[in-house]
Symmetry: C2
């Protein structure tokens, strides 16, 4: 299956999480917000690039993106969330009728991109083994605010065998456009997380003996910032229901000798 | 000398290019522009990260930066340029009296950062050997526009011994926050450059036998965009008269195993 075929399926009405769809192609988080707030959002992302790496920004009113020529951001994701004054106001399989002339669409890098690289290098992904969504937690660390945008950093956690932690750090660290190296290894309390068994988003995931919890900055951070900052109107993807781009994961890897398309 | 001592000297009235000042510490390009244009500038940088990697953006009216706590962006550079309607309107040793409540200051990565790494790896820098500024050229390639901001990509050129080109690519490619890998190697005509002996900015630099011209995206690109886009008012550094930060060059290197502060 090609990315355009996946998008056509979602445009045609298929609703399901996109994990595992079209392996090797980058998926993105979506946030569409009115132009009046766009500077604050873009600056928030610039100031917090680990949780909020921007891969593309549309022109106001446009649902097109350079990451997938011919795609329509208002129909080609499997499921959307609509936010009013920072409160979830509904979920929809498309948002064509809700798109507005003043909406600017941000696409934010997603950790699915480095998960492919981890798996290929032999690093086990416990949530995949267990058929679950990755565990995500709201931390006690505040992002650097920007204008009206503020909020806590959200992290995803993967239990990694202790002897493979260094490899996982090196692989993800070479992909700064999709969250990069972990923000913390080891102690959940250091991030203000009380109980790993009770994630704020996603599912609880069991660690295997010898695993160490490794925490990466997470693309759900902008959604937490929407809830904290309460812009009048926003549209996002539904968790796990991402946008499938035409860009290969490999293009976001900083390569020795390569012309890496880092942060495009 | 420490970065703060260099800034104090410039604040005290010293005027000179900053090449070679406080080796190992990152220097930046400055663009301050009114808040009404700030979204277009920030989006232009997001869309053109190779010539315009953003290292910090100030709040409106503020002359402070996280890159150098205690510094004042309106006094601590050795020389400034003031632009009105896209036309150079004057050069000043400080711009304290010209700073406005609605000015937003952008700091853009500078190729001085990867030059240190090139030199340490044994790659000769011909312009340094010849005591000259690097050669810079306006290319025929247009940047991806953003709102009212548009303009051609400007490149810097360094003649590199053919057998060291691969090394130079790898070293700079690991530093995407300071222009990253070259945009072209070899043929100036490919970039629309007619005569290497006649740079648009900086000085002509002689190649040694066996050298190949290598072209990097250049932080002068935003100044070319100011000239093309004609915002009512802007302040920039004068060419070669950069801002010296407290951040070590090394922090902008994407490292295997490291927590690189890529694009902060």
């Amino acid at each position: 299956m090609k990315p355009a075929e996946a998008r056509a399926a979602f445009r045609g009405g298929k609703v399901c999480p996109t994990a595992g769809w079209v392996p090797g192609y980058t998926q993105t988080n979506l946030i569409a917000i009115e132009r009046d707030w766009a500077y604050d959002v873009l600056l928030f992302c610039q100031r917090n690039p680990k949780p909020c790496p921007v891969l593309d920004v549309s022109d106001p009113g446009s649902t097109a993106t350079v990451l997938a020529p011919g795609a329509d951001l208002s129909t080609d994701l499997p499921r959307y969330r609509v936010w009013r004054d920072g409160v979830l106001a509904g979920e929809h399989p498309d948002v064509k009728s809700l798109w507005r002339e003043d909406l600017v669409a941000f696409q934010i890098g997603c950790s699915f991109t480095f998960e492919t690289a981890l798996a290929e290098a032999g690093v086990p992904l416990r949530h995949v083994e267990q058929g679950r969504n990755v565990s995500m937690y709201v931390t006690g660390r505040q992002c650097r605010p920007a204008g009206r945008m503020r909020g806590p950093m959200v992290v995803s956690m993967r239990p990694i065998p202790a002897e493979l932690v260094d490899l996982a750090i090196r692989i993800s660290g070479a992909m700064p456009a999709v969250h990069g190296a972990p923000v913390h290894v080891g102690d959940p309390a250091e991030l203000g997380i009380e109980d790993l068994a009770k994630p704020d988003f996603g599912d609880p995931v069991r660690a295997a003996p010898g695993d160490v919890p490794v925490f990466w900055a997470c693309g759900v951070t902008p959604q937490a910032a929407l809830m904290a900052s309460r812009p009048p109107f926003a549209i996002t993807h539904a968790p796990g229901h991402m946008f499938v781009t035409d860009v290969r994961d490999e293009e976001y890897r900083v390569q020795a000798g390569g012309w890496a398309k880092v942060l495009r």
